[in-house]
Symmetry: C2
Subunit: 258 residues, 2 copies
């Protein structure tokens, strides 16, 4: 069987991504919006949990010139695409700052540390946890199914790992469905505070299709439900200007507080 | 000690409310927004749980000409204000359709039914559960403290009662703080579905201060995070037109689906 790869430009050509065509989760808007939550400068350490082909982590590396990014991905096949991306000449400016580790981010304790997920090591953790929804279209392809298979307790497992590998005061960022908000809040529990939730609406008057969330390890600040982002004005296909800037690495979605 | 009462006009004079001045929770915007969630016609039966002086329930009765409204309030003193409101000549059009029952809405089973909270009796249940927050100003007054005292599990208790007294397919409506969203979702559990959440923002760019929620007893529909309502444009003191209409009983906040 021949797997067709594509090379897609993101951030208006600031970096490129090798992805399988028709297999696995294809990176796009979600990964770019997730990356826009990392409001950082200097040599920060960033972990992308369940990185897939690495779109979100590479987007952070492309926008934050000194960021050191580790992509953690369980599926060797997807990790290999991330390595291919790093070997593209177009991505030469990222190569020394991004590494790829094949690891299951749901591991605990010593097994987690042995897999390369070190305690208190990162300034930022980003994640786009897999989800599934019975009301969605079927995903017959196995890799795609894995990328979308949200099982009970998955947020708990992923957020626990984020809590372990972040430095105190470090920031967790994630993108999820609005339907997962209670699970996200529960998973943050006492590990994280200052949870800030930002709905993403396709158009004015429509219900949210995604939820952006950030939280601070060890914070006691209370939850903040922030103004939503609207992707499109009226019937337009183009993104609204601020969303377009977020999608292209020209803006970050700043938190209201630390 | 003399308790000063006020008589306040709501819905631009469509009904009036007797309230204690400086004691207890004073009804206002929250109660009117809650009432705006009841999208009903004809002789529907509506229960207002923890009705206080009855502002929200009276607002529904004022807007829906055939609605039959029962106000449930634990504090006899507050229930007495509701009765005083019903005896105002200005509220003569409401009197035969609104009754007041002194009852603890957290009662269960036979005790709940004995207190006048009948099973499967209502088309709509509305509630503005008390809340407290350590980051808030203190509320030294005892009645006010009771009205704001959100204790662990209170949403669970209130929503359980709503689930019991609603007819199948009946609608629960509530107003709460955004910080309570996880508790609301958990309390709805399997009793309710089709949860629709609408944030209320003071102004564009600010975080939400309230969350409106509706849910349908027995529904299996998934959660919907709806567009937020913005109360004020820019620096204006006046409400934005749609919020002003909701506040004045001239509009309802319709659900996207049943």
């Amino acid at each position: 069987m021949t797997i067709i790869e594509t090379i897609d430009a993101f951030h208006r050509g600031a970096f490129h991504l090798v992805q399988p065509k028709g297999r696995g989760h294809r990176a796009g808007m979600d990964a770019m919006m997730l990356a826009s939550l990392v409001d950082a400068e200097g040599p920060v350490r960033v972990a992308d949990l369940g990185a897939g082909a690495g779109a979100a982590g590479l987007a952070v590396a492309a926008r934050v010139p000194q960021a050191m990014v580790t992509l953690y991905e369980r599926a060797e096949e997807m990790a290999e695409y991330a390595r291919k991306s790093l070997n593209l000449t177009e991505n030469a400016h990222l190569k020394g700052r991004v590494n790829v580790i094949v690891a299951d981010v749901t591991l605990k304790g010593d097994a987690r540390r042995a897999a390369g997920l070190d305690d208190d090591a990162f300034d930022h953790v980003i994640m786009n946890p897999p989800f599934n929804d019975h009301q969605d279209r079927r995903t017959p392809d196995a890799l795609k199914a894995e990328a979308h298979a949200m099982t009970q307790g998955l947020f708990e497992d992923w957020v626990r790992t984020a809590g372990a590998i972040l430095k105190p005061g470090g920031q967790l960022s994630l993108i999820a469905r609005p339907q997962s908000m209670a699970e996200i809040i529960a998973a943050c529990g006492r590990r994280f505070g200052g949870l800030e939730l930002t709905p993403i609406y396709p158009r004015a008057g429509e219900s949210a299709v995604r939820l952006l969330a950030t939280a601070i390890k060890g914070s006691r600040a209370r939850l903040n439900l922030r103004p939503g982002l609207v992707m499109h004005d009226g019937e337009a296909h183009a993104f609204t200007p601020f969303v377009d800037d977020l999608n292209n690495g020209r803006a970050v979605l700043k938190r209201t507080g630390r």
